[in-house]
Subunit: 254 residues, 2 copies
Amino acid sequence: MIKIVILGAGNIAQHLYKVFQTTETLHVVQVYNRSAEALSYFKNTATTTNLKNLAEADIYIIAVADDAITSIANKLPFTNRLVVHTSGNVSMHELHKKNRRGVFYPLQTFTKDVTVNFSQIPICLETGEKSDFKILKTIADAIGSTSYKISSEQRRALHVSAVFVNNFSNHLYRIAHEICETNNVPFEILSPLIQETAKKITTLTPYMAQTGPAKRGDQQTIENHLEKLDKDIHKEIYTLLTQSIAKTYGREKL
Amino acid sequence: MIKIVILGAGNIAQHLYKVFQTTETLHVVQVYNRSAEALSYFKNTATTTNLKNLAEADIYIIAVADDAITSIANKLPFTNRLVVHTSGNVSMHELHKKNRRGVFYPLQTFTKDVTVNFSQIPICLETGEKSDFKILKTIADAIGSTSYKISSEQRRALHVSAVFVNNFSNHLYRIAHEICETNNVPFEILSPLIQETAKKITTLTPYMAQTGPAKRGDQQTIENHLEKLDKDIHKEIYTLLTQSIAKTYGREKL
Ligand SMILES: NC(=O)c1ccc[n+]([C@@H]2O[C@H](COP(=O)([O-])OP(=O)(O)OC[C@H]3O[C@@H](n4cnc5c(N)ncnc54)[C@H](OP(=O)(O)O)[C@@H]3O)[C@@H](O)[C@H]2O)c1
Ligand SMILES: NC(=O)c1ccc[n+]([C@@H]2O[C@H](COP(=O)([O-])OP(=O)(O)OC[C@H]3O[C@@H](n4cnc5c(N)ncnc54)[C@H](OP(=O)(O)O)[C@@H]3O)[C@@H](O)[C@H]2O)c1
């Protein structure tokens, strides 16, 4: 049995709480949040809004907004216990060194109230002390997640990469949605292509999976497309990504 | 029974041939290709490399490279028959008007030898004569595809949109792959996030699904990310897409 205190009551806190409840080995003994409101979610579990009242536990998981992590870690009223955060974007060393430190970062985009399947979620683990790694690994295993040993520097790289594949891809979907609306075409028609594009990289590298006019060096099609775009920002994005693809495939002149 | 002649022996020709074979109502009577080599794929079916020898059929499907469509349509040795192409990028009017014209455009990315499930593929249909629409619709129905009536102008918009969601998204995956390699992180770790990002737009609009520092206006994270990127072209793409997202959510100042 691993005794866990969760600090924070948002998205990640709720998803972790829920999945920990499904295991026999992970026991959430308490949830802390600065405000009482969001704590109503955590039924049947002790809660507190006062850091001084934190319960004894094997691990403290800080799942609050990135810029609040350090200040909460500083205020913890104990030393030499295992304290981890869940952020992709914050170094482990921003946790106060009076405690044993670590990171438990689930690399996925979570939406409140949308159930997630933790067996599909990779978790990036890091600890200051080697002996603490086992606890994090046991927690990841208990919820069925695949885990990876990832340093703070590597995690930072992953976080930037995640912006490209998640935030930026989604924005490209948004642009396609706008173009469809302007032309009175239902956006759903693109959904199978979007799913297939994502699926392809599970069997081919993105380098191998690339297709299209930029890769082929098909200048005529590129010009047709630019002509069809109304918004300047869409033209700019089209041009820059086309240049970048052309460069990747050795077509410097496009 | 609908009698079909396929012109072309590439990717699309092979996939259409294969799926037509699975139906009881669609009969491929002949396949034409300019060169004999690729015709070996079409076993048990008459083939020819000479347009003069084309068989009689209800519909002629031209599935050749975009820039060869017009010249093949011009050379057809008959008139007033139904002739369609399969391109997202070519107007129906580039087919010679001596025949009845149409378009049968499967909106998906096809890879040779990778089986595709046509029930998941939307098909964009267009015909010059209203009465021909029914034949195209019957073919789409027979292979289990959802079909849409789409004009040449709408198809052009869809083709540009497809570049954004397919070619450009894949290039963002490629950039993430490069960042991962530079930092010694396995790229597979991003796969669940990529799949989830694509899946989200089946239940939320891309506008609603957007997350991340650009949307939040989190300048500090944006600066951290730019610092972490080595390549100038990656920085440029990061900056432009960040600006575009910021603008979408009314944060003009980022
Ligand atoms: N959402 C994701 O997809 C995702 C994925 C992986 C990792 N993460 C990481 O998980 C952590 C939590 O993210 P989240 O999505 O769960 O955020 P969230 O849903 O916005 O919840 C934020 C939590 O932080 C608390 N908080 C905010 N500012 C605070 C402050 N100044 N002092 C004390 N508490 C404060 C909030 O308390 P109140 O209820 O009082 O406002 C709330 O409990 C972050 O480090 C994030 O980077 C998120
Ligand atoms: N691939 C996709 O994902 C996809 C998706 C939707 C629509 N389409 C459309 O489907 C059509 C065919 O594309 P594909 O992917 O099947 O192409 P492909 O695999 O490259 O095959 C091209 C075919 O066109 C023939 N061809 C090329 N240049 C020619 C010329 N000058 N004269 C006569 N024949 C010529 C080739 O003959 P040889 O064997 O002699 O070279 C071959 O049969 C295109 O209009 C394309 O836009 C493709």
